[in-house]
Each structure stands twice: as structure tokens, then as C-alpha cells.
């Protein structure tokens, strides 16, 4: 009887652990990432339209916001998508600006 109880508890524990891991994986996959690229030279609204056009063409990008006050490009990625630092740097350059730094936050 004692062995049966131990086996049952072990089975339940394993099952709960698996469920927790699965839930964490689902949560991770559905979380969005905010990529903030600080750039130099972005002083003109008319010209900064390039940023939304260039970043907007990327499959991984959900939305783009330009912050002229702080010289920042805020890019929200689609859930489960990724955009490497190298790609961000390349897109900033294609937009005509110089990359200063990249920060990433979960949304």
C-alpha cells in the first residue's frame, strides 16, 4: 500500500511538472518583444517615415513607433517571432540612420 501511494504521488508530481513546463512554453511563445533601437540623425518626421516602411516590411514585426524626442524606434515583434540585433542594425542603416544601442523588453 505504501509503495502504491509513493508511485501515485510521483506520477502526480511528474504530471504537474510537465503541465507547468508546457504552460511556460505556451506563455513564452505568445509573449511579444519590444525592441528599442536608439539611433542618431532622426530629426525629421517626413524623413523618419522611412523607418516605418523599412521595418514594417519585416515578417517578424507587428508594429513600429517612432519617438523623435528620444531618437528611438520602438518595434513590437509578433508573438514567437525574433529579430536579431544584426538585422535591426541593418534595417536602421537601410533607413538612413546610425544605430546607437538596442534594448529588448517583454510586452
Amino acid at each position: 500500500m505504501k509503495s502504491l501511494m509513493i508511485a501515485l504521488i510521483a506520477a502526480l508530481s511528474t504530471s504537474m511538472a510537465l503541465a507547468q513546463a508546457e504552460a511556460a512554453a505556451v506563455s513564452e511563445a505568445s509573449a511579444q518583444t519590444l525592441v528599442t533601437a536608439k539611433v542618431n540623425g532622426m530629426v525629421c518626421d517626413f524623413c523618419a517615415r522611412a523607418v516605418t516602411k523599412v521595418f514594417g516590411k519585416e515578417d517578424a514585426v507587428d508594429s513600429v513607433h517612432v519617438d523623435l524626442d528620444n531618437g528611438e524606434i520602438h518595434v513590437t515583434l509578433k508573438a514567437g517571432s525574433a529579430l536579431s540585433d544584426e538585422r535591426v542594425a541593418s534595417l536602421v542603416k537601410k533607413s538612413g540612420y546610425d544605430l546607437v544601442s538596442i534594448a529588448r523588453d517583454a510586452v
Binding site: 539611433v39 542618431n40 540623425g41 532622426m42 530629426v43 525629421c44 518626421d45 517626413f46 524623413c47 523618419a48 517615415r49 522611412a50 516602411k53 523599412v54 513607433h65 517612432v66 519617438d67 523623435l68 524626442d69 531618437g71 537601410k94 533607413s95 538612413g96 540612420y97 546610425d98 546607437v100
Partner: protein
């Protein structure tokens, strides 16, 4: 009378053609198209270009010069030679060249091969703006040169997506023109992908009307 004729000619030409001196940003983003239509009484120009990269653009340039009575049509290539980006400012140096044909209206001469070269430069912050452009034409039957400089100030600093307003002063020099040097106060508005400039040149009593759209 001269200004009335000029205004009539501009209306007849509509917004189809445009003046060159506001052509300070002759390249766009990769795969971007730009239409520039400018009129200043002396000339009307149309420049439609495509940018394969943020450093190059190529397209059609057409100019109807009312002052000296000729019409140029051809291809124009623009190159961003150098861009300086800093935290609160940007400066650019451009090279421009065009090749095509020129039609000397009214004097019986034939259409001739023609071309031009030019340079442009600008520096701006969110508050201040300066630019300079020089261009020289060889039209076969005549030559033409011009240069223009601008200074501007934004009366307020708008956020991204707001209507932006600039107050500017343009000084233009065209040695062959009836009034070689003119000063034109103008106001520039831009919103989203549209840019509009309206100015007035007291020396020649001419209206400036420029429009740019990017897509």
C-alpha cells in the same frame, strides 16, 4: 501683366511640373517613390523618382523654364554622397545629374541633347534648417546656372505624426534671369508623407508653390 501671364501659364500647366530649389531631399527609403512638383514663376518642374537604396534614386525630370523659354525632359540620377548623423542633427551632401533633351520654344531651333549636374547640401535639427543647391545646365542652344540657399526655423516642435510647420527664407541666384537674385519667404508644412510649400517673391511678384509626396 507679366505676373498675370505667369500665373496663367502656371494654371495651364497645373501641378504637372515644378522649381528646383526645394529639391533638397532627392533620395528616399529603399523601394520608395517620390513625386516632386514645384513652381516659382520662373520655372515649373516635375521630378518623379524611385530609390533602390537610401543612397540613390533615379527618375524623370522635366522643367519648363518660363523665364528663358525652354523645356528640358530627361532622366535624373541622385546620389547621397555623404550623410552625417548626430543625436540631434542630420546633414547631407548630394550629387545630381540629368541627361535628356531640351526644346527651345518659339525661336525655330531644333530640339537638342541636354544635361545638367548639381550638388545639394542640407543640415537640420528639429528646430533649425539650412540648405544649399547649385545646378548648371547645358541645353545645347544655351547654358543656364542657378543656386539657392535656405534657412528655416520651426515655430513649434511637433511629435511624430503631427502637422509640422517651418518658416523659411530662400535666397536664389540665377545670373541669366531678369531678376538675378531673389528672396522668397515661405512656409513649409508636412504631414505624414505629404509636404507643401507656399511662398512669395516680392522682387518678381511671383508665387512659389511646391508639393512633395512619398509612397
Amino acid at each position: 501683366m507679366n505676373s498675370i501671364q505667369t500665373a496663367g501659364a502656371l494654371l495651364a500647366f497645373g501641378f504637372a511640373l515644378s522649381a528646383q530649389s526645394a529639391d533638397a531631399r532627392p533620395v528616399s527609403y529603399p523601394s520608395g517613390w517620390t513625386v516632386m512638383q514645384m513652381n516659382n514663376g520662373d520655372a515649373s518642374t516635375l521630378h518623379v523618382h524611385y530609390s533602390p537604396t537610401f543612397q540613390d534614386s533615379i527618375g524623370l525630370y522635366s522643367e519648363r523654364n518660363w523665364e528663358n523659354d525652354w523645356h528640358f525632359t530627361g532622366l535624373q540620377y541622385n546620389r547621397l554622397v555623404k550623410r552625417w548623423n548626430s543625436p540631434n542633427a542630420q546633414a547631407n551632401l548630394y550629387f545630381k545629374a540629368g541627361a535628356g533633351q531640351a526644346d527651345p520654344f518659339g525661336d525655330g531651333a531644333d530640339v537638342e541633347a541636354a544635361g545638367f549636374i548639381g550638388i545639394g547640401a542640407d543640415w537640420e535639427t528639429r528646430r533649425w534648417f539650412t540648405s544649399y543647391e547649385a545646378r548648371a545646365f547645358d541645353l545645347g542652344f544655351t547654358q543656364d546656372a542657378r543656386q539657392a540657399a535656405r534657412i528655416g526655423v520651426a515655430p513649434y516642435i511637433g511629435d511624430y505624426g503631427d502637422l509640422h510647420t517651418w518658416l523659411m527664407l530662400q535666397i536664389e541666384n540665377q545670373p541669366e534671369a531678369e531678376t538675378p537674385t531673389t528672396v522668397t519667404p515661405l512656409v513649409r508644412f508636412f504631414y505624414d508623407v505629404q509636404l507643401l510649400e507656399i511662398g512669395y517673391t516680392p522682387e518678381s511678384e511671383e508665387l512659389m508653390l511646391n508639393w512633395i509626396v512619398r509612397f
